[in-house]
Symmetry: C2
C-alpha cells in the first residue's frame, strides 16, 4: 500500500530544520485539527515565496525584486559595506545596531572541504565592487568560528588589495558562537567597537 | 510599505505549533537557501492534505477516504472498541501494543468551560454504535488528566447504559502526562493490564 496523504504530509514537514518524526506528526495533526485556514495560507505563501524570492543583484540578500530594500534605499551610506555570512546575520545587525551603511551577504563561508571557495561566495563580484572606489571600509562580520575567521582573513586581504580598510567586530561576540543568537546589547557593543584589521 | 513576501512567509510559518518568530525565520531561510525543492513539495502536499483529508465516518480519525484503513480492514476485532482523545494517541497505541480491535477518536475531551460537551465529541454517534450490540468492551484510553478522567467516567456510564463493559488502561501511565509521549514499554504494559471500570 502506498503512503497515505497524511503520512506524506508528515514526511514532507521533515524538510523543516530541527523537525523530526514526532514533531512533524504533531504539526500535521495540529494543522488538520485546528489550523486548516492557516495551513492553506502557509501552502500558498510558501509556493509563491519559492517561485518569486531570489537574490538581490547587489548584496545577494533575499528579495523578490531586482534589489533588496536596503540596496534600493537612497538613505544608506554606501561608503560602509558590512559583510555577513547569512541573511539572518544581516537582520540581527540591522535590528541591534544603528548601522546605516549597506551589506554584502556571502550566503555561506569559505569551506574548501565542502567545495565552497571564493567563487561560490561571489567574492569576484565583491572584488569588482571594492575596485569601483565607492566603499571606504569593509566591516567584516563573519561568525567567530574557525571557518568564519578564515573567511574574514581572506576578505581583509581582498579589501587591502583594492585600497579599502577592513575592520572586524570587536571581541565581545562569544568565541564559537553564532552571531544570529547573540543578544542585542552584546552585538550592538561589538559592532560599535569594531577595529581595523591589521 | 506592505510586508515583503519573506516577512509573510516567516509570519505564516508561525501557524505551526511551537514555532516562534526566531524559529520561523530560521525555517524560512533554510527553505530558501537549501530546500527549495522540498519546500515546493511541502506546499503542494499541504494544500492537497487540507483539501482532501477529512474524518473517517466510523471512528472520526483522519482519512482521505470514507473510512480509515483500520475501520475498512476485514481483520480487526469489532467487539473491542478503544476510545482515545486524538489521532496521535491512536497511533501511539497502534505502534506500542498488539491491539487488534478498532478505535473511536474523540478529537478532544469533555471541557464544559470551552463549550466542548458530549455532542462535540460525537458521543451521540458512539452511543448508537454501542447500542447496536457488536461491541462487548469499551477500552477507555483518554489521558490521565482531570478532563481526561471526567471524560472517562462519562464514557464508562455511556457504555454501561448500553450493556457494554467499560475498561480503563492500568496505572502506569504517569499522572498528568500525555499518552502521546509515554514510552512504548510503559504504554504497552498499561494497555495489557487495563481493568474493568467499576
Ligand atoms: Zn541588496
Ligand atoms: Zn476509522
Amino acid at each position: 500500500m502506498s503512503a497515505s496523504l497524511l503520512e506524506q504530509l508528515i514526511e514532507s514537514l521533515r524538510v523543516l530544520p530541527g523537525v523530526g518524526q514526532k514533531t512533524a506528526q504533531r504539526m500535521a495533526y495540529h494543522l488538520l485539527e485546528r489550523e486548516r485556514e492557516g495551513g492553506r495560507h502557509l501552502s500558498a505563501i510558501l509556493a509563491e515565496s519559492i517561485e518569486k524570492i531570489g537574490h538581490c543583484a547587489q548584496c545577494r540578500d533575499f528579495t523578490e525584486g531586482e534589489l533588496c530594500a536596503i540596496c534600493a534605499s537612497g538613505s544608506r551610506d554606501r561608503h560602509l559595506l558590512c559583510c555577513v555570512e547569512s541573511p539572518a546575520d544581516r537582520l540581527a545587525i540591522e535590528q541591534a545596531t544603528g548601522y546605516r551603511g549597506v551589506y554584502y551577504i556571502l550566503q555561506g563561508r569559505l569551506s574548501p572541504l565542502d567545495g565552497i571557495g571564493p567563487r561560490e561566495l561571489g567574492l569576484d563580484k565583491l572584488g569588482e565592487r571594492l575596485q569601483q572606489g565607492e566603499v571606504s571600509e569593509l566591516i567584516i562580520a563573519t561568525n567567530p568560528t574557525v571557518e568564519g575567521e578564515a573567511t574574514a582573513h581572506y576578505l581583509a586581504q581582498l579589501a587591502r588589495q583594492h585600497g579599502v580598510t577592513p575592520s572586524r567586530l570587536a571581541h565581545g561576540v562569544p568565541l564559537g558562537g553564532e552571531l544570529e543568537y547573540v543578544d542585542r546589547g552584546t552585538l550592538s557593543h561589538a559592532f560599535g567597537s569594531r577595529s581595523e584589521m591589521v
